[in-house]
Symmetry: D2
């Protein structure tokens, strides 16, 4: 089966060109000027006036994540289908080790949950909840399985938290086996002190979630993680960065030539304390960790600037949806925290909305070029997590993960048009430039004419290579 | 006329792939997997086991430059031919305004010297020697001619030097018309004081050229140029950087999101004070400005690191050759400075040697990836000076400027095998990995089977766009 | 003649104590606890409930300075008398070299103007307007005369300006003979471009004086001066600093252990653009260089902070008064610049007001301790310019320059109560804590009972030692 | 009883003067020029040709400290007597809370051990080993007792270590009650990992003590402590700093105006890895934490520089002696760690040697002025811990703690001449300038004619005020 996408403006992070793209089966096999190639195909798609982008790569999602007594409301089926609707054709989710149990058990559980269910290709990072002699050995095994990145938490003491010795030993292991350490860099110990003091003072509204996680708790943890990674000699990828001061730590490390990287998410670029302060319990919609920051302190501008200077390299979603009203099968979610912000499940939906939000930031707000949009949303995440150039670009030999984008139409962000299994959009009512007209995953059309044409199991597990973004 | 390059490993700054490249006339029209495309061609080149690189882009050459009472020994014919031999298919040279004369006169003189003589495509930056009301207006005219970058000198008082007011006004003009300011950032005023004091003390050997230009004279000038560019609001490209401290200034500016860029050259990466101290007058071979730096102070390591962190973005040559012995037609050159280093013409040959030197740094010394090699030697210079993606990459629609590189052979740097019109190589005897087997300029084969197949006038003038590397 | 000051709280930069101070003739000869010393004296002064401070040391005044076609309105007689009224018992003024003439001629002229006229002790810095072989030699001669500091201007091209080569050579000389270089660090060349462009656009009001001297023109010049001083190896004292960014350069240099120092003045701590924008031509009162800065950009807070961290070490006045209305003998002054801010004589009165303004900053605003007040206003300036411990403290062997300060009374700043020969106060109407009840210079009472008891010639020339504040 | 010290050169941190000092009982009551005062006294001491210094203030000693299964070999009697011999007239030692017991119990135990035993005045910091609700309250009680500083350990997990939440809560308490937090800033958690790995590899010699505590473990902990102090809003004093990188963190904090301070000790200024590598088990003599650092990495120079720039403010000893051979009553000490460096008691003697070592650094090596010597060894520690001007200077009202120093004699550091109860000197054989001829504590002569004239109980407990060095 051959497909030819004609006359589109093919945009990769390396540039743009008007060209035809030939797909044979699952793979891009040729790119050529119209009229020069003599190609025929089973299907010819006219992309005149359209951008032809590589599919989005979202390296931070949490489908079905158990958290705070419930589960993230998207399962691998609904979540990856929503991703496809939003122009994302690859996710890397997180398998979770249960404390006291082998890491491989967690990995296998997550494979079981996801295999045969996904609409798009998917890989896994491993959350190491319990660093010990055995789990350090299992890190080697997982490298062989194509799980080449390991996430640790400096936040959430008693739950996902690793202490500094555990973190350091996991980093030493990564230095040895080529893995990349991902870090939730928030000082959970200090945050818990502040949190408990706030609750004691009766400060229970959603805004206190952010107030009890001040920027210095993020920047200190980031500095500490960098220090350990430098000492251990491993690559470090700091997830969901939101504080100016924390990004400054990453920038300093990068100036010194360390393999230190930073990711941010749409919520940190578009939302702020005003959202957390929405009347009633509405602020709970925006409760995630790291928290969204106050706009007046300049965090959003600093993040956009860091994306421009490449001090931040990746935009992912940290997609982790919880319903405001009861979920049909999962029951009470966000409302667990009514009257006590510490009980609000942390997380925000976004896997479907990222590509449009950032595209809009690029073209409407002039925050970045289209090439840079592709770079931060597709090419660099693919490199960072060992999937390039299969994923993240349109080139001969790449997987035919392609999004056809109509720049001349506006669309609205709304729960009414979304496909994620969650009952709100954090960007409700926001109008953005561009419409996703077609989404293709390894040559198969998933989205066309506003209709989903895929089925569970279209997506395959990706055994990933090591970090391709090292210096 | 169609050409097909088969089976090579096509390497651009965006990645590598085994693919066939179809050229129609002067242009790349298709890239496809072998066996998928069904293409035929007038000529088929087998590049199996070879790298297929975009041609080198050297944005800093000085053919026939009048300097210190003589002329750079390569004219546009010999110099561009040597460039082709070395895998460089585009140069941007410098037209020079004569003080007291219109800038356009200088521009036209350089066009006259070069048009119909060049082996490869070429553009011009304009050296603004005399900033005044008229030349500021001429900057607008030159923008229309495709001369979109303007070089100023903080060094060489009384010759090419502009004072700070002139520099600032030229920068204001560039901020207005979209031009990029290139800066020779050395504090010529202070250097002249140190130089005169050295001569007075009888310190006349070539090494004193470097000693009287201490790193702080480069870093101070770099800081000052950045301050003016920030105030004026124009892009700034600092040429031939050699001092760690100066690169640190560029890095700081870039951290703040300024459009400030830095270039270095092979001589700063491979040569040092030991060369300047070679016995007799041999040190004169390595006299250029900025000077090569002492190795023990860590400058070379700092430059390689800055290339890794993208605090330096471009490697050019600052090719400006002068003969050690008398040149047949130009007479005495380097020896003008025997017994008085201040009279040694400043400059070093390199246009033919850059690509091999940096490739070798990449593969033998592990200093960078092949993709980064292409980026700093081809893609970024092309973007920085408005020639991308015509130049600097291999993509549909790009000029077919292509180098076929055999990685399995070693070659030696030597005046005996070079083609530049100069009687020495600064890297005499150095063995490097790789052999350039074929060089193509806009589809025309210039070098093949160790033979030059081009002729003067093959190269065309490039009317350049504005800087495509801005944030 | 012996004087005993009893029961006061003696405050030096090293601390405070309740003690009696015995003065014999011109000198402090003893400090002892009341009731322990058994001293008798010709005069006993009861200072119970009073602070006993060392007299103020103002190391930056310009009496009778020729500037912009007129002269600073205070001559040495009126100016030093006003200083005494304000609790300042030592000034260091500036002798000026005329371009084209020997430096010694300028020095002698200023000695002639001042000798036998001053109410308090005085020394001179030398303004080097014309660095050349002869003036470099004269720097050595002046060191022998007790003129151990040399001021250079990066501002005022064509008038006091030295070019960078001159500056560097003067610094080399200072490195050799132990002198301290004082720098007016503003980029006069760029400022002149901005100024001429502003005038061309019809921007002629006093506020444009500040707008055409943006902070970067101060910080760049400061950076440059530091670079030259580092290369030359001399101490550098940057005068009248007002921009946050410039102070940051001094702080960085100091972190590296360089002998780099910074001074600010009351006008930068208390005045801002609102003053320059006062209606009519009132803004001219506040025209000085460096300019007062906009409050919203945080410069004032940064200066106070730098005083706290000792990144700024000295508060002087840069006293240089010009009348708003015609001066009886000097004629039109500030009004020379009506309709053209570039013609407003640069300067502001302050020698009488500094001590009260800074004391008030200390006690009313909590900006510093009383010890730090003494340090920045007396002790450090005395050390910096080689007069300690004769000046700047109260200790055995020190000159009996003493101020008795009543902390329990408030006074008002106003032209009506001032004694400077100028027709306005820049702080008109401001109420401050504290009243100066007695001022003594070398044991002689100058101010008592709101009456001046001194006479011209009380003050003596101070042959100063070299910088005592070096690390 | 009145004493008059005549004709000496009185040196305080504020300057020097030739003057006579009158002491009445325990207190300095007058300073006056010879011949001006008319004083008589019970005893007249001729100090002609001598320096008269304030007694040394050593704010970091550990007499009788239980550590690693033994006790520091000096008890309060021998240790304070040795201090007196060495010109130190005030110590601040550390009372230790036992985990699980009230803090007051530890305080009382230490008072009991010291009261009536000391040769010189002494105060206590409190080591908070067990931060909990009760001990936080006890911090308030101790403030009332004159114990105004609280030390926490980021090192020694399982022993003195506090976790980050405990540290942060103690800091919040200090912010509230005005206490100063002292921090042993080493990342004990990571160090323990490195230590265990070293032992596993058979790396058991004393040098591995230093190798397993790399500079980054000190700088990271310092950064973290600063972050917590900034968030809590309390003063932070980092003890025994030895790593360049850690001092850089303090310097950065101070540039931002934080009340962050740093102390170093003679061992870090004079000893290095060569000592730790002395043959046999000799290296154990120099095992202390933080460790002495490698000289080639520039730490010593960085520390001296930081003392010059006031980024370090205090030199103390961290006196904590353990015998190399068996101690008569305490048994095996350093040798506990033969074959396993982790068992070597951490500590080094020094209370007797500090003043001479630093004086020698000042006058022989030109590292600082005599005034600065007094400042870092006496005045600033006294201010930092609320004892100024009683302690730390010679002024009217100060305690008559005085050292008469003969600058014309050299003395040798050696266990043979020392008085500490330990069987080695870390500086054995080092010759230094200067001889301590007389030491006086509150007017009582303790040392004269190389004889000790004091007796246990001469020294009194000092109820200290809060930090007087805040900005």
């Amino acid at each position: 089966m051959k497909t030819l996408i004609e006359n589109g403006i093919v945009v990769t992070h390396a540039g743009r060109m008007t060209a035809d793209v030939l797909i044979d089966g699952e793979t891009v096999v040729g790119i050529a000027a119209s009229g020069s190639h003599g190609w025929t195909a089973d299907r010819v798609i006219d992309a005149a006036g359209r951008f032809v982008f590589p599919g989005g790569v979202d390296v931070h999602t949490h489908m079905e994540l158990p958290f705070g007594g419930t589960f993230a409301s998207d399962d691998f089926e609904s979540g990856t289908r929503a991703a496809a609707w939003g122009g994302t054709t690859t996710i890397v989710d997180f398998a979770v080790q249960t404390i006291g149990e082998p890491m491989m058990a967690g990995y296998e559980a997550w494979r079981e949950k996801s295999d045969g269910r996904c609409a798009i290709d998917y890989g896994f990072h491993m959350i190491v909840s319990d660093v010990n002699e055995q789990s350090l050995k299992e890190m080697d095994i997982l490298m062989g399985e194509g799980v080449t990145s390991f996430k640790l938490f400096m936040a959430y003491p008693g739950v996902l938290y690793s202490d500094d010795g555990q973190i350091f030993m996991a980093m030493q292991k990564a230095a040895e086996n080529g893995g990349t350490i991902m870090m939730h860099a928030e000082n959970g110990i200090v945050i818990d002190v502040l949190r408990d003091q706030a609750i004691k003072r009766g400060e229970t509204d959603p805004i206190y979630h952010a107030i009890t996680r001040p920027p210095i708790t993020e920047s200190e943890a980031t500095h500490r993680a960098i220090a350990y990674a430098e000492l251990a000699g491993c690559p470090l990828y700091v997830v969901h960065m939101s504080a100016d001061e924390a990004v400054a730590e990453v920038a300093l490390a990068r100036d010194r030539g360390l393999n230190v990287f930073g990711e941010t998410c749409p919520q940190y670029l578009y939302l702020d304390w005003d959202n957390l302060r929405e009347p009633g319990f509405e602020g709970a919609k925006y409760v995630c960790s790291t928290p969204v920051r106050s706009r007046e302190d300049g965090h959003q501008d600093a993040l956009w600037m860091a994306l421009a200077t490449n001090d931040l390299q990746v935009i992912s979603t940290d997609h982790c949806p919880f319903c405001m009203n009861d979920h049909p099968t999962l029951g009470t979610q966000k409302r667990l925290g009514e009257g006590d912000f510490t009980k609000i499940p942390n997380g925000i939906p976004g896997v479907e909305e990222r590509m449009r939000l950032i595209y809009d930031g690029a073209v409407s707000d002039g925050r970045m070029s289209l090439e840079r949009f592709v770079e931060v949303c597709s090419a660099t995440p693919a490199k960072m997590f060992g999937m390039y150039p299969k994923k993240g670009t349109i080139a001969v030999g790449s997987d035919a993960d392609i999004v056809i984008w109509n720049p001349d139409v506006e669309t609205m962000m709304s729960v009414d048009v979304n496909h994620m299994d969650v009952d709100y959009s954090a960007y409700e009512g926001k109008t953005v430039k561009g419409k996703i007209e077609m989404v293709m995953s390894r040559g198969r059309v998933l989205i066309e004419n506003d209709t989903y044409h895929g089925s569970p199991g279209d997506g395959s597990f990706i055994a990933r290579d090591t970090n391709q973004y090292l210096i």
